[in-house]
Structures are given as C-alpha cells and as structure tokens.
C-alpha cells in the first residue's frame, strides 16, 4: 500500500540522496543515457557540487548503441565532479536478430568496431572479468562493497519494478533499497512518475537523449513505449525498425558490423517473423510450428539446449506458443523466461494490488 507524505517527490528524493551522501563516501550512479538514470545522475551531481565531492558514474558500453546515447554519456562522464567508469571492454552480447551470428562480440579484439573507443573510457581490465553482459554488473559492484549504488528504477514503470523497489528492505532497513549480499543498492526515484521525470528535465534544462524527441515526433506513446537500451537486446530489438529513420548512419554501421540486422528491421514490425502472436496458416497447431522451427532454425548446439529446456515444460498449446516465441528470437539462453504458473500468479497479484492502490 502507498502512504502519501506531505513532501513532493523532488524534495523527498533530495532528502534521500542527502542522507546517503552523509553515510557513504562513494556514491555510485549507474547510467544508461535514458531519462531516469539521467535524472538520478543530475540529482546526485547537484548534491556532490554542494558538498564539493565527486560521484562515480558507471556505464557499460555495449558498442551497438545509438550515437545520441553516446553523446549524452560523454557529457555525463566529462564533469569535474565525476569519476568516470565507462567500460568499453570485450563483452559477448546475444544477438537476438540472427541465427548465424550468435553474438556480437562487442569491443572484441581485432574486430571492426562500430566506432572508436573513447579516451575517457576504461578500455581494458587487468585480470579476470566476466565476458557476458549480465555477469558484468555484479562483478563491477563487488569491486567496491562500501559504495552506495544508485539506480534510477521507478515503481510506476511496471509491477515487477514496483516489487523490486519496495519489497525487500535494503541497507539500514531502508525500504527503497536492496541488499545483494553486502552490495547496497538504492532507488531514490522509486516514487517518481514519468511526468515528474520530464518536469525535472525541463526545469533544470537537462540535456537529454535526442532519441526521445525522435520517438516523440514519430508518434510514440509518452507513457509506455519510450525505452532506450542498446540496439540488439533480446527484449527491445524492435527498436531496429525505427533505427533507419532515427539514425540512418548508425543503422548502416550496425548492418556492416553484424548479420541479421536488416532482416530484423524489415520484419520486426510485421507478423510471423520474430513474433508468436498468430499461428501461421500453414500449421495446424503451435506444437507443429514449434517442431518445424526446432528442425530448421537453431544450430545443433543451441538445439540441444532448447530441447533440454522444453522437455521439462508442460505440453500445452500455450507453452508451445511461448516456446515458438523463444525460437524465433534464438533465445537459447532463456533470457526471456516464461512460466505460465508464475504469470498467472503475477496476474492475480496485480489485481489485488490494483484494488489496494
């Protein structure tokens, strides 16, 4: 349940941040060039300037990024009150758009990168470090367990985010934080709405990612669809459809860099390819379609992983349909995991919450 206070979200967030500055010498902000993390950054930076301190700013550069994102990142990293932690190190990205090139080996040695590395960035790491994207964050956080990790998550984005930012108490019993072992994470913007985010950006004349303006001009819903991430993420590669009209040069560089991009851009907005919403007319059932895809799409090594996983799952049409969805984006790693029982549970929980809120 939400209990409203007399403060507005801006004053409240400033109070939360100030309290963390009192308690932690290292304030570490994760940025993505998106609007929420930009607000997080600027609130922390303002506090740092008041106190004549520095903040650490973390960005995991996945090479396949909008040019406009990099313009923002560069600006954020250059401030004298910022210690830049901009990583441009070799990392394997799953390429959700191609069956023949499984990964983008971002910043891989000897490969033709989409752009030059930046002098401000960390270009190599001494010693062992993870080469998979999802393992990199925890690795980075473990480097300094004394820091406060500031994350721009907001509860109004989705139910999972509402849970993430409110469920488990964090350091010192703080409800808008989380403890991951001895790593302390905080979500000082948890109660902000998308309106508050843009109002802050407007009021403080913050230079934000231009992709938002292009999305806005292009008729995107202001409240739902505007997400900025890297360009070949499993959950957001539909942004490729817009890329030729937003950043034609980035699109061309991406096409040269990895396979499958042009196909994804052409079909991601259409039915059948990459999408499991309607069963193609040549198949009698989702099971039939799934079996066809299993025979034809993945390489043998991936097929084994799909088979092993699917064999543990229920034999219902709904499940086959979900499996088709994974096969179509070559998600052999189960990044877009589904669990019909769980989703039913979440749906019921959502109803309960909506009744309460």
């Amino acid at each position: 349940m939400k209990i409203y206070t007399t403060q507005n979200v801006l004053d409240a967030a400033r109070g939360r941040i100030s309290m963390l500055f009192d308690s932690f010498s290292d304030i570490n902000v994760s940025v993505s060039s998106g609007k929420d993390s930009s607000v997080m950054y600027h609130l922390c930076l303002q506090e740092a300037i008041l106190r004549d301190r520095q903040i650490t700013v973390f960005f995991m550069d996945q090479e396949a990024e909008y040019e406009n994102s990099i313009i923002i990142i560069k600006e954020l990293m250059q401030h004298p009150n910022v210690i830049p932690r901009w990583y441009q190190v070799p990392i394997y990205m799953t390429n959700a758009t191609s069956y023949s090139e499984f990964f983008l080996y971002a910043w891989g040695p000897g490969e033709q990168w989409m752009r030059e590395k930046d002098p401000l960035a960390i270009q190599a790491i001494d010693g062992q470090h993870p080469t998979r994207f999802y393992q990199f964050f925890p690795w980075y956080e473990r480097q300094n367990t004394d820091a406060a990790y500031m994350i721009g998550l907001r509860a109004d984005e989705s139910l999972t985010r509402y849970r993430a930012v409110t469920k488990h108490p964090g350091w010192n019993g703080i409800k808008w934080g989380a403890l991951d072992g001895d790593i302390k994470k905080f979500y000082p913007l948890y109660d902000w709405t998308v309106y508050d985010v843009w109002k802050f950006i407007y009021d403080y004349d913050i230079h934000y990612n231009k992709i938002y303006d292009l999305m806005f001009m292009d008729g995107y819903s202001i409240y739902k669809k505007m997400r900025i991430s890297n360009l070949i993420h499993e959950k957001s590669f539909k942004c490729l459809v817009d890329l030729p009209r937003f950043e034609p040069q980035t699109f061309e560089k991406l096409c040269e860099r990895i396979g499958g991009i042009a196909t994804a851009a052409r079909y991601a907005s259409e039915k059948l390819v990459f999408d499991n919403k309607t069963l193609p007319k040549h198949y009698g059932s989702w099971q039939e379609f799934r079996d066809f895809l299993m025979q034809n799409l993945p390489c043998p090594e991936h097929r084994d992983r799909f088979e092993k996983r699917f064999s543990k799952q229920a034999g219902s049409e709904k499940m086959y349909q979900a499996q088709v969805g994974q096969l179509l984006i070559n998600d052999y790693e189960n990044s877009t995991a589904f669990d019909t029982k769980k989703s039913e549970k979440v749906r019921r929980m959502k109803e309960k919450w909506l009744a309460l809120l």
Partner: protein
C-alpha cells in the same frame, strides 16, 4: 551511362491489364485515399510495370497493383505502362524488388520539412490534408521544442512510502 536502358512508357487500355496473384504488398486505406487524390490532382505519374502474358494476350502487372486498382475505382479507361519481356520467375522477383527499393523518411528531416512548409506560408490544415497526416502526427513533428517541453506545467507528485 553505358549499358543502362531508359524505358519508354506507352498508353494502353485498362482492359488489357490484369493483376498478378502473388504480390505480398498491402496498402492501408489512408494511403490508398492519398493515392486517389494524388492521381486526381497531378495525373497518373508512374507507369505500371507489366509483362505480356502470352496465353491471355494481356499485360500482367509486375509493379503498380495499387495504382491500377485505384485507377479502376476512379473509372479510368487507360493507363501508362512500361512493358518488359521477362520469364515468370524473374517477374515475381522484380515485384518484390520494386516493393523493397523505397526510401524512408528520416524523422528529424521530416520535422524540418514541415516547419519549412509552414514558413512558406501554408496553413496547418492545408499541410495536414496534402500530406495525409493526422493532427497529432503533424503537431508532434511541428513542435521542435522537444518532449520535455510538453511537461513544463506539471506539478511534482506527492512522495509516498510503501507500508
């Protein structure tokens, strides 16, 4: 320019043309309407690309199915064509090729273009109608102040705590 053939078009009866049965391209109603007003205003600008079907002794459309349909609906008796002599499998592939080799509007340039038209003295409604745009689409392209500007009058929400 050596080796590039420049094709002449010719005018034939609509009755001598027929649609192919494989074209995967679909045109939404809004664009079909625009096509109609465009033809009425400027005339039939792009000849249909056709091959002669020897059995039927009629021209089969390779490219221009929607232009052909619109002309029929408008009651046209004749249309211009460019005739090619191609085997069936090549005609099918050319259809797809013609659908694919079309450009896209860069969103940012489109916005500049709209502002430019307005500076030339055209009225909002006029531009919307001529370009087949809805008011919201037009306004979003026209206002170049950015998305944050739309939220300038918002008041910060009340903070809350979860209990």
């Amino acid at each position: 320019m050596a080796g590039i053939v420049i094709r002449e078009s010719k005018i034939v009866d609509m009755d001598s043309i027929f649609a192919n049965d494989y074209n995967p391209n679909r045109m939404p109603k809004t664009e079909m309407d625009l096509l109609g007003s465009c033809i009425l205003k400027y005339g039939f600008l792009f000849p249909l690309i056709v091959v002669l079907d020897k059995k039927k002794q009629k021209y089969r459309i390779v490219d221009g199915f929607h232009r052909y349909e619109k002309m029929k609906a408008l009651g046209a008796k004749q249309a211009s064509i460019i005739e090619l002599d191609l085997p069936y499998h090549e005609a099918v592939q050319l259809t797809v090729l013609m659908n694919r080799i079309k450009g896209m509007h860069q969103v940012e340039r489109m916005s500049d273009l709209i502002v430019n038209l307005e500076n030339l003295g055209l009225m909002d409604e006029e531009i919307c109608k001529n370009l087949g745009m809805e008011a919201e689409e037009y306004l979003r392209l026209k206002q170049q102040l950015g998305i944050a500007h739309s939220f300038r009058n918002h008041e910060y929400a009340k903070a809350w705590e979860s209990a």
